[in-house]
Each structure stands twice: as C-alpha cells, then as structure tokens.
Amino acid sequence: MTAALTPPSRMTAPPPHMNGEGYKRRRRPDRFLPYLLLSPALVLLAGMIYPFGLGLYYSFTSYWLQYPNRFRFVWLDNYINLVEEPLFARALEFTLGFTVAAVAIQVGLGLAVALFLHARIPGRGAIRALMLMPLMMPPVITALMWKIMMASTTAGILNYLLSFVGVDPVNWFGSTQGAVVSVMIIDTWGNLPFVALILLGGLQALPTEPYEAAKVDGAGPITTLRYVTLPLLSPFIVLVVLFRAMDSLRIFDVIYATTLGGPNDATTNLHIMAYQYSFQWFQMGKGMAQAIVLLLLVVVVSYLLMRLWNKAAESTV
C-alpha cells in the first residue's frame, strides 16, 4: 500500500547532479517532448478546425464568389432564410426519411445476412470473402455501375432480367419514386457488407452460456433470437445504426452520380442542396449555412445514438 502511494520518481526532487544549468538543459527537451509527439495530431486538428471555422464564419456572411464587393456580415440571415426556402423543407424531409428507411433496411438485411453467415454452412469462408467485394469499390463507381444496369428500357440488364419473371421495364431514375428506390438499392448494395460484418463480429463474440441455458429451457430458434441473441447483440446493433445513420444523413456521391438530386428534387438532400448553393451557384454563405445545419443534425443524431449505445453496452455487461 505504501509503495502504491509513493509518488513517481520524476515527481521527487532532482538528484544533486541534476541541479543547476545541466539540469535545465536536460529538462527542456522533456517539457517539449509531449508537444513534439502530439504535433502531427495538432497539425491534423488545425487542418480540420481551420476550414470548419472558416465555413462557420462564411455561414454568417453573404459571401458569393462572383460578387466579392457584396461581401457582408449578415449574422443569422442565411439560417433564417432557410425556413423560407421551399427546397430546404423538401431536402430536410428527404434527408431524414432516407436515413430512417436506409438504416432500417440495411440493419435488418445485415442482421439476416450475419445470422446466415454465422450458421455452419458449407463454403461459409468463400461467401464471407465474396460479400466484402462491394466494400472495396468506391461509391461513385458503384453508383455509375448501377446507373448503367438500371437503364429504363430492357437495354438495362436489370430490366432485362426482370423481364424473365414477367416484370415490365422499371423506370428506375426517370420517375420520382423510382429514383428514390434506386438510390436506396445502390446505397444498400454498397453498405450491406459493412453492416453484416460488424454484426457477424458481434455474433461471434457472444458468450455461449446463455444459449446453452436457453436450450436446456427448451427455447426454439425464434425464441432464442428474440430473447437471447438480440438483447446480447444490441450494443453492436446500436453501433452499426450509429455509423449508418451518420453516413445516410450526409450521403452525396451516390446521388450526385446518378440523379443529381432529381427528378423534381425527389432525391435532393441537405448535402446535395449545400453543394448546389456552394459550387453550382457559388453562394458560399448560404451553402455553408446549409452544411452547418446538416452537421448539427449529424451531431445531434450521433449524440443520441451514442447515449443509447452506452446504455445498451452497460445493460449487457
């Protein structure tokens, strides 16, 4: 006990030979060492904080690239005016609706895939390896590949295949509902492996005792899933919901590469809208305000999900 309370040797008075100038010379590197070691992280942090700060500042201005003379500090005008912007309400609605639907579909399907791959089936290793392929593709490439496959006539391979089961050509990107569904399919195809992988990892980490107890109690597969697997897996489920919610709220590449937010603004989310204002119309002030709103949305949702994750993690300990 006494030994545990003894202060570390560096906290005690310096030994006699370290007094005076010699000690000071050696102490200086010690004092700066932590900063030196942290410097890459600090540079990285500055690289993040500076553009963020600049963006935040611009969101309070009328910054418009081609009218430098009209640059003014407008306080909260850009935020207040968002309420009057009809597209903002539609974009916000799509952002939230898409996130809820994408997370529900991807986590639901991901769980099913994880349970399937967790079972002892022949060729499990090969299936797991194949399943990871979409993760290796950049989302833009994924989107362009699907765009070609989703041509609206039977020239598109997807409609061609559907014709064998008697389905008429689907107007994938040319109708408002079709475009929303198409973006959802592409996003799900690209991200399902990630969800399944996390949940599969969770399944493999679960203790075996509760399953043995459930078996002794005569529980069937559905009951075991409902009362043993899902509660034990809940921290992993919340974690994957957190990741997917953050990504779905700010999805950009798939939409930009396929629909550009159309048709009829059906797939315009806050990210696409902020891009249009900033880089298509060069109204940086307004675009940054929209980006900040999106950021706040991501932060709030992430915070709520993190709290849920903490609770789930505590309840399974």
Partner: protein, 470 residues
Amino acid sequence: MHSRRQWLAGLPAAALLTPFLTLGAGFRAAAQEDALAYYKQAKIDWQQAKGQSLTIGLNKHPFTESLLPLIPEFRQLTGINIEYLILPEAEYFTKLVADLSQQRGEFSVIMTGPMRNWQYVPPNWILPLDDFLKNPKLTDAAWYKLDDFYPALTAANRWNGKDGSGVGEGPLYSIPVLEESYILAYRKDIFDQHDIKVPTTLEEMAEAARQVKKNAGIPGITARGTPSLASMGTGFISGLKSYTDGQWRELDDKLVANLHDPRSVKYTELWIDMVRESGPPNWANTQWYDAMEAFTAGQAGMIADADFFAASYEDPKKSKVAGKVGYALLPAGPGGKTYSGLWTWALGISRATRNKDAAWLFVQWATAQRTLLNATVGYRNYNPSRQSVTNDPRVQEIMAGWGGGSYLKTVAKNLETARVAWVPQSERQRLGDIWARALHEVYFKRLSAADALKKASGEVDKVLKEAGIK
C-alpha cells in the same frame, strides 16, 4: 547477374537497330520541323516568352484531345512550358470559378464561351484580347486571319459588360474553337417507311414523335431532361425562340423574368406533353450524352439538339443509324423562320496570369488555322469555327455525305439566323436551373405550366435582386 546477362544479350540487337532508330528520330524531327514551318510563317518572335510556364485549364472535349499531342510542338516552337488540367465539364467550371474568383492565376489559359464570359467579365476575371490582337509584336494579323472565323462566332464572344444587352459589342473575350447551333435530326428511314412528314411546326413535331412511337416502337423523340441549365440551352430554348419568331426573351428590358409569358407557357405545355407522351421514360434523368447516345443507338426517332452531334450519328464505327439520318431546321413559329441558339467553346486568358504574353501566344497557336484543321480532321472537333477549315476539301469530304447532303445545307441555313439565345447577365446558370426545375414540376404534374413558370419567374427575380443585377 540475370539482368546483366539479358542486357549483354540485347547489345547486338541494339547495335543493329540503332541506325534505324536514329533514322526514325530524324524523320520525326523533320516532320515536326514541317509542322513548325507553318507557324514560323507568322512574322512574330515565337520565342519571346521562352522559359515561361503556363497551366491550361481544359474541359474534356474532342478539341482538348486534339491539342494534347501537339503540345510538344508548341514547346519546341516557343520554348514555353505547358502543364494542363483536364476535368469533366461540371467539375471543370467549378474549379475554374474557384481559381478565377481567388485570382490565384493557377490557370493561365481557360476554356470558356460566350455565356460563361458573362459570369467572368463583371468581376474582371478575364482579359479582353483585342490588345493582343492589335500588337504586331505578339500577333501577325495577316497570318492569323481573325476574319477567317465566322463573324457570328466572334461576335458572340464580344460583350460590352452591360447586363441585359451588348452581345457582339465591346471587347473580344475569347477565341472560338468550335461552333454549336441547334437543329433537328430525324430517322429518315423510319420517316420514309411510314410516310411521316418532317415537322416544320411544334405541333407537327409532336405528331411525328407520336407516329414514330406508334409505328417503330421506339421513343419518337429524345431530349435532355435533367433539372439543370444544360437541359434548357439547346433544343428547348431554340425551339421557344423559333416558336415566338425570335421575339421572346427570358428577361425583359428591365431584367424582369418573363418565363411565364403566355407564349412560353403554351410552348412549354406542348413540349412537355410531347416528351411525356412520346419521349423516353427516363426523360427527367436524361443528360446530353444520354440523349445523343440513345439517338446514335437507334433508340429515338428525333432529337433537337447540337448540330455537331451528327459526327457521332454518322460515325459508322459506333453508330447504328449512320447514313439513316436526315437533318432539318427546328420547327418554326408563325413567321416561318427558326432562331437557333449559339454556343462556341473558346479560349480566353485569366487576368491573374503572370505570363500574359505567353498565354496569348498559346491562344494564337491553338486557334491557328492549322491547329483547328487538325482538330477537326483528326479528332472530329465539329463544327469548325474557321471558314477555311469548313471549306477544306478533307472536311468537306467528311461532312458532305451526312444526311445525304442535308447536314451542311441545314447548318449553313441555321447560321443565318442563329444567335446567342440568352439575355446576358451573370446569373444565367441559376436562371437555367430554376427554369429546368419548373419543367419538372410540369412534367410530373405537380403544377400547371402557367403556375410553375410564374413561380420560376418569381424565384429568378429574387436571385437577380439579391445578386444586385437589377
């Protein structure tokens, strides 16, 4: 050891080949000398900016492809170092505005065009080129022959800088490298087979589209439809201008939006009904290349778009309709005339560039008769902006057969009345985007044409006011 043995074994072969390689290099050098001889006819010192460097901002385009292999020639001619950045159109213009607005001078020479210049001139981002053209130290006017360019094209690249007017007046801001106007291309084989009349009015065009769809089982017409300016500036606005005998303008004299003019409403109703009824099902997601490729692949009966798309339709290597296409003017209005829009890709110079003279030497070289002829003959950069290139026998031989001769006649006739379709002001991109969104409201039956266009006019007025344009 192994690689050393290989190297030694290769020595006799190298010894045998060396004279031929040297000879080959000699031929290449001689060929390059020949090429340079044309430019050296100009009575200017091409080496006056030797050692300077330029970065060229380029859009991905056949003209760009034609320039790249020639850049070593330019280096040899001038001693100027060239770097370039090529980007797809949307990304290119975003990057360009970012560079110009900060006046960093990253791009010395830029690819631009009349309507784009309206965005870059008011904040003084690009240089007028007249001083370069008049300076005998920099330009041999007799050799360069500015008057060889189609007058309508150089006029389109002039602007006096006043919002709402002045195209064709004031300084020349860029030199055109191609011409683009808008005509009707139709499947002559299908029209002949089913006795369909080549349309001369919008109503007839809708009927022809209906007939093609009914008889040939393919969309009667394809057209751009994505919700952006790109969908508005070609066939649609040219058709509207023609429908109103060239009288209608999207902004009136006081720069008040006029999208909801009754003539514009009527035209929009007819156009949207036509594409909804006889167009491709994915019209609302169709970009220019989708429309062009659909027609090239035989998946549409008509297309009202850029004349030079004919180079794609008539390319037997990739087209299913080569030799089966007819060309005609866009449907006319009550006055019987068409009023096509006009666009030219063109080269301009950023004001922020440090090497202005070098930049001009590059522009002069890249728009010289030989360079542009090479772009057209070797890289299908249509339609030529210089009359001498159009009249070159090699170009005539290629273009004369298109549409059984109807192509060249149609383009020539079209250029008699073609002009820049838009009212000059720097928020044209935004206006076009708002307008295109209104068309989607009509197409998806969320609003009537009158209501959608009225709403769009209101939005445009708000933007122009906010931008201080009116």
